[in-house]
């Protein structure tokens, strides 16, 4: 399977235990720093039109600032109401101090 790794930003710029929004090849992507690992999902909530990078990362779940829906940042799974739809998550790798995301 071919991978389409896109350079997103420097690994040091991903905040620990927090979230940052980045533009990756024209797409609005949220990157999460957790225990030295980085995870990526779409940045726009599947419920209201809010940016998850304005939300709060806790116990591996990102809480949307607008209606407090929570997604598991590793799988993108919607964890509670009012969410009815999972969010898309993407593979991430760190190489030479850079974060690469595969948008598929």
């Amino acid at each position: 399977m071919t991978q389409n790794w896109i350079d997103a930003l420097a690994a040091d710029d991903v905040p620990q235990d927090d979230v940052i929004g980045v533009d990756v090849a024209g797409r609005d992507i949220a990157l999460y720093g957790m225990d030295g690992e980085v995870f990526a999902t779409d940045n726009i909530c599947t419920h209201g039109h809010a940016r998850l990078c304005d939300g709060f990362l806790e116990d591996g779940e990102i809480e949307c600032p607008l209606h407090q829906g929570r997604f598991d940042v590793r799988s993108g799974k919607a964890m509670c109401a009012p969410l009815t739809e999972d969010i898309r998550s993407y593979p991430v790798k760190i190489e030479n101090g850079r974060v690469f995301v595969d948008l598929g």
């Binding site: 209201g48 304005d54 809480e63 600032p65 209606h67 407090q68 109401a81 009012p82």
Partner: protein, 420 residues
């Protein structure tokens, strides 16, 4: 001068014995009306909100009212039915504007507070503040608990596909509220078959809401007011009939049986509007196709105090929801329905017979008009009183229609609850 009473009584008192003379101010006094809302619509009573068939699917909702208070009837994911007050827990906005619809959740447009279909607060935008330059600005206080800020949830009871709600969570069971006599007729109509919605009529009637209850508790008028009935020999004072009340006299059932033979006799002979020679082209408007569930009666009109009338007039079945709006006005919402096992011919027949009813109905148009004109009479001389002495001054169940007993019964209950 001493002979002329005050036109607008300062301290109105119910002077007559019993309830056969009803003071006009019972229909015109705004403070009294507020007390009626309080005591009949918001406490101790069940109010009709709709039919389960109006919200068949998860996420379906219907906006309606209990008294004057806007409520939303919803169906949640687990199939359960909820009735929620249409007032946002945040800034009090009446947020739901659509009459019917389907939604995943209920959202107030003002600040997008969102609630589940069961009324629980789900989301408060920026509850935890807004991140800016590594700092968090604003947000709700740490001790803010969403579970303390649900929508106001009403107590709900359903029976036979009919949904009732009450703001009063201490209200007795719906079955106890209706009482065994009325329950028997309720279960006759709503006997467990799934209902289908055929359509709605809506009208605003500029009269006091009680007049609608009285109209259906008054079998004295139909043969006299509704000339349309008489023209075709449909209503006759000698139809086999019964009037029955619950033990509090607040609810009633008017039960009558019409024979298919429309015979001219001494009862119709004197009524000038009876036209032997006139015929209706579409016989389905008038003829009777007996249904097995009737068990005899061809018409049963149930008045369930304070908010609803359940109608079976031959093959036309409907609910009529009384929605008060000030002392001198109410909205009247008719929901025409059928049953899932109806043949297409029966559905057509129910729809055709529904032409007798509603704001422009061949029969019901008359009722809206006399209610308006009654209210006009009351407003011009509130010191006066109406008479309800047909059939005597007592309150009793009868086996005939020539009585105003049910109106007297309703005011007996009204006086007790109102402390008038």
């Amino acid at each position: 001068m001493g002979d002329i009473p005050a036109i607008f009584p300062v301290a109105p008192a119910w002077e007559a014995e019993g309830t056969s003379r009803i003071p006009f101010w019972a229909y015109t006094d705004e403070a009294l009306y507020k007390r009626e809302l309080e005591r009949f619509f918001y406490k101790g009573h069940w109010c009709y909100v709709g039919l389960e068939a109006e919200i068949p699917n998860h996420g379906d909702f219907k906006r309606t009212v209990v008294g004057e208070r806007s409520v939303i009837m919803t169906r949640a994911e687990d199939g359960s039915i909820h009735v929620l007050e249409n007032v946002c827990a945040h800034r009090g906005m009446q947020f739901c504007r659509e009459r019917h619809g389907n939604k995943k959740d209920l959202v107030c447009a003002y600040h997008q507070w969102s609630y589940s279909l069961k009324g629980d607060l789900q989301g408060v935008p920026f509850r935890r503040g807004v991140k800016q330059d590594g700092k968090i600005n604003g947000g709700m206080p740490k001790d803010f608990k969403p579970e303390d800020h649900s929508l106001n949830k009403l107590k709900v009871s359903t029976r036979g596909g009919v949904v009732f709600a009450s703001f009063d969570h201490e209200v007795p069971s719906l079955e106890a509220y209706l009482g065994p006599t009325i329950l028997q007729y309720f279960d006759r109509l709503f006997n467990g078959r799934k209902l289908t919605i055929l359509g709605y009529n809506r009208q605003r009637i500029p009269g006091n809401w009680k007049l609608m209850q009285e109209n259906i508790k008054d079998p004295y008028h139909p043969g006299l007011l509704h000339t349309w009935f008489i023209t075709y020999g449909l209503w006759r004072a000698d139809n086999k009939s019964e009037l029955k009340m619950d033990e509090h006299f607040r609810h009633a059932a008017m039960i009558s049986t019409r024979s298919n033979a429309q015979v001219k006799n001494e009862v119709t002979a004197g009524v000038s509007s009876f036209k032997e020679s006139m015929e209706i082209q579409d016989k389905r408007l008038l003829d009777i196709v007996p249904e097995p569930w009737w068990g005899g009666p061809t018409a049963v009109m149930m008045t369930v105090f304070p908010s609803v009338i359940f109608q079976q007039q031959v093959n036309s079945v409907s609910t009529r929801h009384i929605q008060p709006d000030g002392h001198g006005s109410f909205d009247f919402v008719w929901t025409h329905f059928g049953f899932e096992d109806d043949t297409p011919e029966m559905t057509q027949r129910r729809l055709i017979q529904a032409n007798l009813f509603g704001p422009a109905g061949f029969v019901s148009a008359d009722d809206g008009e006399v209610i308006e004109l009654s209210q006009n009479g009351f407003e011009q001389k509130p010191y006066h009183r109406a008479l309800a002495e047909m059939g005597g001054r007592e309150i009793e169940n009868t086996d005939h229609m020539v009585t105003e007993s049910l109106i007297r019964g309703m005011y007996d209950y009204w006086r007790k609850v109102m402390g008038v």
